[in-house]
């Protein structure tokens, strides 16, 4: 499994991040100052870094720049409470691979980390399956238990997104961004409405419930097989 270095000065956030990430199967090393983070990143082997920007002693951006200038090539995800565009640009320019604005959904952090470590495997499969549901991209049709489902374009895209992230919780922000192409998320319940409509079609009476709501977070498509 991947080995992660988490650099964050807020002790409680650090503790909950470590717990959550370890439960997801990551091996986690932690640091609470920029100095310590830089030291660990350059001395211990790790596959990726989660880096807070506002750190005591040495600023996260500075740490990142120094790491990159010393040939550190592993993916770095920045955590920041500064969400102005120029801050994001500065972070990405300094060599970050992704950023996440605090407060963030833990599910989204997991999804971003997965994306960072993904090696294009299973990304462009032509047929996706979950339970007795099958999605065929060539013929552009969805079949459950031998019955073809009549889905709108948006419902099709939504189901595809859930299938590609099956057994992983996706947040409404992620769906809004990736399915609806609204980078700031949708300040409306259009996603809930669409998920409900999709559910009605996918979960006919007698079928097992596969799209679950994760309260306060988002949705997950469960593959029970």
């Amino acid at each position: 499994m991947h080995r992660l270095l988490v650099v964050e000065d807020q002790k409680r956030l650090l503790a909950s991040l470590r717990q959550g990430l370890e439960e997801e199967g990551y091996e986690v090393a932690t640091a609470s100052t920029g100095e310590e983070g830089y030291f660990l990143a350059t001395t211990e082997p790790c596959d990726g870094v989660v880096l807070d920007l506002m750190l005591p002693k040495r600023d996260g951006l500075q740490v990142l720049k120094e790491l990159r200038s010393h040939g550190f090539t592993k993916p770095v995800l920045i955590l920041t409470s500064r969400d102005a565009v120029e801050d994001r640009v500065a972070g990405l320019d300094a060599g970050a691979d992704d950023y996440l604005v605090k407060p963030f959904a833990f599910a989204e952090l997991l999804a971003r980390l997965r994306a960072l470590f993904r090696r294009n495997v299973g990304d462009r499969e032509l047929v996706l399956r979950a339970d007795d549901l099958e999605m065929d991209f060539l013929e552009r049709r969805v079949v459950r238990d031998g019955v073809e489902l009549d889905l709108s374009k948006r419902e099709f895209e939504l189901l595809e997104y859930l299938l590609r992230h099956k057994n992983q919780t996706v947040t409404r922000d992620m769906i809004g961004r990736d399915v609806w192409n609204e980078p700031d998320g949708l300040w409306t319940n259009v996603i809930d409405v669409c998920v409900n409509a999709l559910r009605k079609k996918v979960e006919q009476p007698g079928h097992r419930q596969i799209i679950q709501t994760v309260r306060g977070v988002g949705y997950v498509l469960r593959d029970h097989q």
Binding site: D83, A84, V85, E86, V89, P103, R154, W180, E182, P183, D184, L186, W187, T188, N189, V190, V193, C194, N196, A197, R215, G216, V217
Partner: protein, 475 residues
Amino acid sequence: MKRLSIRWKLTLWYGGVLAVVLTLFSAVVYTVMSHQLMERIDQGLNEELADVLSEVHRHQDSASLLEWLNRRFAHHEGFDFEITDSNGERFFANPRLIEQSLSFADASEGNSPPRFETLSIGAAGRWRIVAVQDTGPSSPLTVKIGRSLATFEHETRELLFTFLLTGPITLLIAVSGGYFLARRALNPVHAITQTAKRISVQQLSERISVNNPTDELGILAETLNEMIERLERSFQEMRRFTADAAHELRTPLAVMRNDVEVTLRSSRSGEEYCRVLENVLDETNRLTTMADQLLFLCRQDAGLQANRQESIPMDDLLEGVVVNMQLVAGEKGVSLKLVANPSHSIMGDPRQLRSVFYNLLDNAIKYTPASGAISVTSKADNGQLVVVIADTGIGIPEEHLAKIFDRFYRVDPARSGDENGAGLGLSICQSVIRGMAGDIHVVSSVEQGTTITVRLPQQSFTSHTPSPDNAKAQS
């Protein structure tokens, strides 16, 4: 001069001008008066000269002339006479002149007019003398008549003295009067200063009293009063905003705290812990949304929002939003239609503009009961793109209409549990539209429906001055 108060400056200027005027006036009066006095003296001398000359002409021999001269001019008030012959010998002189002589004065030659001269004659002081030559009974005679200038000098000296004495006194009286007047005139300014000092955040209801609203100071006072009123209004708004913000921010915190505290009082089942944690997550999400929205508004207010500037095809944007929202409307049994949607482009930030229309349509759907209808119309009008969203919803009561764009304002306070925010949505819409130099306007009647009109300039530009941040974000 710079350090003096206006009152003293006015007084000093007044005093200075008055001193110059008084000096000039005195100088002119003094000159004119002494000139006139001298003329009168000369006139007297002329008359006496004429008398003497008539005696000289009347007599044929020197003896009778001398006798008559003695009789008439030996004791003549104020004038002194001396007549000399061609050799310079004294022919006649009045007794006072026995010791003195007027011989300094040169007689004029022949028939030339009499000569006047002012001379200092030893201890006798200054004299005015007239001299003329005339043919006497036997030989040519020089007639000189003198008059002491003592009286004249005394009079002019008194005049000068009067001026020197009354001038400063007049000046003193006038300057103190001027100071008093300046003080009186500036009294309202003092009152304004005192009131303005008293006015603090706690006492914005105070106003400057206006005695005469038409004069300059009255106008100043009224202008200041209007300014204080605007201040008071914005302070009230600020106070309301702070109170609302405190309420909106504290409520979720209170809910979480209470939930967690109560739960921790005894041991619970796993399910119950789950329920509480889910509640906490909900409230956290609400706080997160609110923080995002407040930050957005603050940045927009400060002009720090890095607004993108790109050409937005409005027909595509509207269609996308409407199609998405049709799902939401459909679920509620409300029909949502895009009536007219000509192809137009405007400049702006498409993300922000999309969120505006999502927000407006979300509201429209929320407040329109089942089987109601919402129509979206877009048209070009006078260089502007006008988007009209009309619903057949419950409407907004008159008294709320003016305030619905206020931050945290809710028509129905009972809806504060609403998931979709804390009454900031419309404020954000207005802020975005205004940021694009546009305008948003609401008309509504209760039970009939609400119509929202958004106007955007087709050649839109941000009203914010491009800050270095903006430039950076766009580069």
